[in-house]
Symmetry: C2
Subunit: 150 residues, 2 copies
């Protein structure tokens, strides 16, 4: 199924930036950055990585697949939690080293393993000139200990 | 001005994820991933990198600063083009290795060096089972050769 191959990026910058050939610019570890937003309202849900197989599986199945660096394997997002991602659109940036996925999230409508809708649930600010975090969204859509076994 | 220091990330996962201490998890090159969206509508504008100094300058000035890997120096986004970023909110993700900036773009309302509003102006699809790109937004807000000297 995922026997898709990608050509190497062109050394011609204008072909890379203006062409219609999809040639992901993988880093030394064979990865590109994946930015995942909610197709409904543009909320940033997560940032992850994709290798060639994850991109191929996502294109072929319409379900978000990534590469887990910690587990060193393909990661079908939501396989444990049920929060699968239905991919509505895939975009690629000018130099083709980052991919944007607009998704609809199934299950609990939550993407973060902490149970929140987005991984980006804290804001960074200055307090008396010192960096600090403030909770921006503390609603948990599921209890992580129920889903992942504590 | 940017003499701000960040504590090292806690080895306690719950402190890192639930605490209110801003401890960016820099990679081996001293960088975190920065995702930049338009505060108006959530459009993904660019993906870049920040080092500690870029985060400090952004917090202190409210203007988006990044670290340019190609030029190996701090990059005040829009300094050449006038497309400066006024940062409305900064968010950080669960493990603090990615930062989300919601910005308003000045100047031409364009972020990509190709003159387009967003760097993500092409969609990736399958055509007869093969990956291909399709132009999603071809409107150029400025002529790059006017701005960067061709």
């Amino acid at each position: 199924m995922s026997s898709m191959t990608f050509d190497a990026p062109s050394s011609d910058k204008s072909l890379l930036e203006e062409g219609l050939t999809f040639t992901p610019k993988f880093d030394a570890h064979g990865l590109v950055t994946a930015v995942v937003t909610d197709a409904r309202d543009g909320e940033l849900l997560m940032v992850a990585h994709m290798n060639a197989e994850a991109i191929a599986l996502t294109l072929q199945t319409g379900i978000g697949h990534y590469y887990s660096r910690s587990r060193a394997k393909i990661w079908k997002k939501g396989e444990s939690s049920g929060n699968l991602q239905s991919v509505k659109e895939i975009r690629v940036d000018c130099d083709q080293d980052a991919i944007w996925l607009k998704v609809e999230v199934a299950g609990h409508d939550a993407t973060c393993h902490t149970g929140r809708r987005s991984c980006f649930y804290r804001s960074a600010t200055l307090e008396d000139g010192r960096p600090a975090l403030v909770i921006a969204d503390d609603h948990r859509h599921f209890d992580p200990s129920d889903i992942y076994g504590g």
